[in-house]
């Protein structure tokens, strides 16, 4: 097999910004079939096949090595698999899609300002309330890793695929791990980010798969396109 697969977010602001970024480097991504087509190309680089995917699928396929190169959020790389970060290489940070994955507690928890407070609250939550402290999040992998690092084991995650910030008020969870740019949505829902509660600073990145098989010819093609983009694979 020869040729390089580049995966690009398939819709919305992320697609636009990604194409702008490539254009700023002199590469034009075309989408001949329009928004309903999921196949594209780069003008003047026939060895590159462009595929349009949802961002979370790009992360998954990069980690599995089914695509070679892609644009997706760092948060999705960390969340998709514990081995995600080790399976890819960040070639370039694109400077958009910036957001933080944070731990936020109800504003009313005036006694909890740091992760170590949360550790104390979690450790006797069960004896006080007969259940574990519940954390609503779509970032289950990231949460588990960071809470383990903070020495907090006494909690349960509740998967939340949308409007996570509403979970404490609706009684689904006690606190949240959520992604935020300004914190204003969290604040509007009476939630406060812990002072050391930023678990991951994410942004859109150009990412190379480390698990894809790069025979010499494909490696040369990869290096060529990356050098046009002013970066290297890092391996």
């Amino acid at each position: 097999m020869s040729g390089i697969t580049l995966a690009v977010p398939s819709k919305g602001r992320l697609e636009e910004l990604t194409r702008d970024w490539f254009a700023s480097k002199g590469l034009t991504i075309t989408r001949p079939g329009g928004a309903r087509s999921y196949l594209g190309a780069i003008d003047g680089m026939p060895e590159i096949t462009v595929r349009f995917f949802p961002a979370s699928e790009i992360a998954r396929e990069l980690i599995r090595g089914n695509i070679d190169l892609g644009v997706t959020g760092l948060d999705l790389i960390h969340e998709t698999s514990e081995s995600g970060p080790a399976s890819v290489s960040v070639a370039s940070k694109l400077g958009f899609g910036n957001a933080d994955v944070v731990v936020a507690v109800p504003e009313a928890w005036i006694d909890v300002t740091h992760m170590h407070d949360l550790a104390d609250v979690a450790s006797d939550f069960r004896s006080r309330h007969g259940r574990w402290m519940r954390i609503a999040t779509k970032y289950i992998t990231v949460t588990r890793q960071h809470f383990a690092k903070a020495g907090i084991a006494e909690y349960r995650t509740v998967e939340s695929l949308g409007a996570t910030e509403a979970a404490p008020a609706s009684g689904v969870a006690d606190i949240v791990v959520d992604i935020t740019t300004t914190g204003s949505t969290l604040a509007a829902n009476g939630l406060r980010v812990l002072e050391d509660g930023v678990m991951l600073q994410s942004e859109a990145c150009l990412i190379v798969s480390r698990t894809a098989a790069f025979a010499p010819q494909r490696k040369a093609q990869l290096d060529a396109v990356l050098s046009r983009l002013g970066t290297t694979a890092g391996f």
């Binding site: 109800p106 104390d120 450790s123 006797d124 588990r144 020495g151 009684g171």
Partner: protein, 354 residues
């Protein structure tokens, strides 16, 4: 019969020879008890599946929990012994995996020391089938708890420190925080009633239930406690004691002598838990045994003595100890003596293969 098959048969015979009931819990188990007992940290290691109602099940990740749960359901109290060998399933970084585990569980035995000796003997016998003379690492949960009870500090700090025992980084962070405790003058604190009012207001404003989770009273209480704690310093000498103690690690006799010296310097009575460790050393005679003061599994139901046996490759081949609080955590009315261990059969087989 090949050598490998012969060793398997020998191991199976050893498991049978424990004078114990051979336990064969189902492969498919409800996942909730595991999350309840060990939290998300262990939960991420489970191989999960769901039934049509969305209830979560997991492939058997260990034998202890189903064995102990069944024992409790049968009505506790009578001494019982269980042994097992079979597959367990745990997520690994490079994909899910099936492992074989063998082990024993000794429950409600009249003499916890004798029970632990049997556990240690079993583990060593299992390892010797595979030609492994292990390095044995001992940890003293009872020893640490006993030190913590006697160390001079405000009471509220003890559970906070205990809770981090076994997690080196978290404990280190807490001690560092205590060492750096600022000597700032606390500003006048609002009264408890005022705090409860403020918190209640905030909770109502953001639509939080006042009774479902943390209550205003609990939050105000912990806030005041926290303020009091920040003011109630742990004496520098106690912090140094904890640091010195946790740093003790080395050949068991030397390490225990160090613990004794530390205890006598600080006038602590640690004789009983130290003797408990010494009693087991005779039986471990020719093995390289070390004691690591900071070593403990991160689960709060461990008590007494815990151990780990590693082979030449540095991999943990057997681990276990005493966990007298486990049965209580799983619903028994009172603590019941329990000890046991599990042996990683696949890792043992890897030790002998060329």
């Amino acid at each position: 019969m090949t050598n490998a098959a012969f060793r398997r048969t020998q191991l199976d015979a050893l498991v049978e020879a424990q004078g114990a009931t051979r336990a064969t819990p189902p492969l498919l188990l409800s996942a909730d008890p595991y999350f309840d007992l060990a939290g998300e940290e262990f939960g991420r290691r489970l191989l999960l599946t769901t039934d049509t109602t969305g209830a979560e099940y997991c492939l058997r990740p260990d034998f202890t929990l189903p064995i102990v749960t069944a024992y409790i359901a049968d009505g506790v109290g009578k001494p019982a012994a269980f042994s097992y060998m079979g597959p367990i399933f745990r997520q690994r970084e490079n994909g899910p995996a099936e492992f074989d585990q063998a082990g024993i569980e000794l429950l409600a035995q009249p003499d916890g020391d004798v029970a632990l000796d049997q556990v240690l003997t079993f583990a060593r016998a299992a390892l010797s089938i595979f030609g492994v003379a292990p390095d044995i690492r001992l940890g003293g949960v009872a020893l640490f708890e006993s030190l913590l009870v006697q160390a001079d500090m405000p009471d509220a700090w003890r559970p906070r420190i205990r809770n981090r025992f076994g997690h080196t980084e978290a404990l280190d962070r807490l001690l560092a925080r205590l060492e750096a405790a600022p000597d700032v003058q606390r500003q006048q604190q609002p009264s408890r009633a005022e705090l409860v009012d403020t918190v209640t207001e905030q909770m109502v404003a953001s639509g939080l239930s006042l009774s479902e989770g943390r209550t205003p009273d609990e939050i105000a209480g912990r806030y005041l406690e926290q303020q009091a704690l920040d003011a109630a310093h742990v004496p520098a000498s106690t912090l140094k004691l904890l640091r010195d103690y946790l740093a003790i690690s080395g050949p068991v006799l030397q390490a225990l002598t160090q613990v004794e010296a530390l205890a006598s310097r600080h006038r602590l009575m640690l004789g009983s838990p130290i003797r408990a460790i010494r009693r087991h050393l005779n039986g471990l005679g020719e093995c390289r045994v070390s004691f690591d003061a900071s070593f403990s599994p991160r689960l709060d139901y461990y008590t007494g003595i815990v151990f780990e046996m590693t082979g030449p490759n540095g991999e943990v081949l057997a681990s276990g100890g005493q966990y007298d609080r486990l049965l209580e955590r799983l619903g028994a009315a009172a603590p019941i003596a329990a000890s046991g261990c599990s042996v990683w059969v696949d890792r043992l087989e890897a030790e002998v293969s060329p």
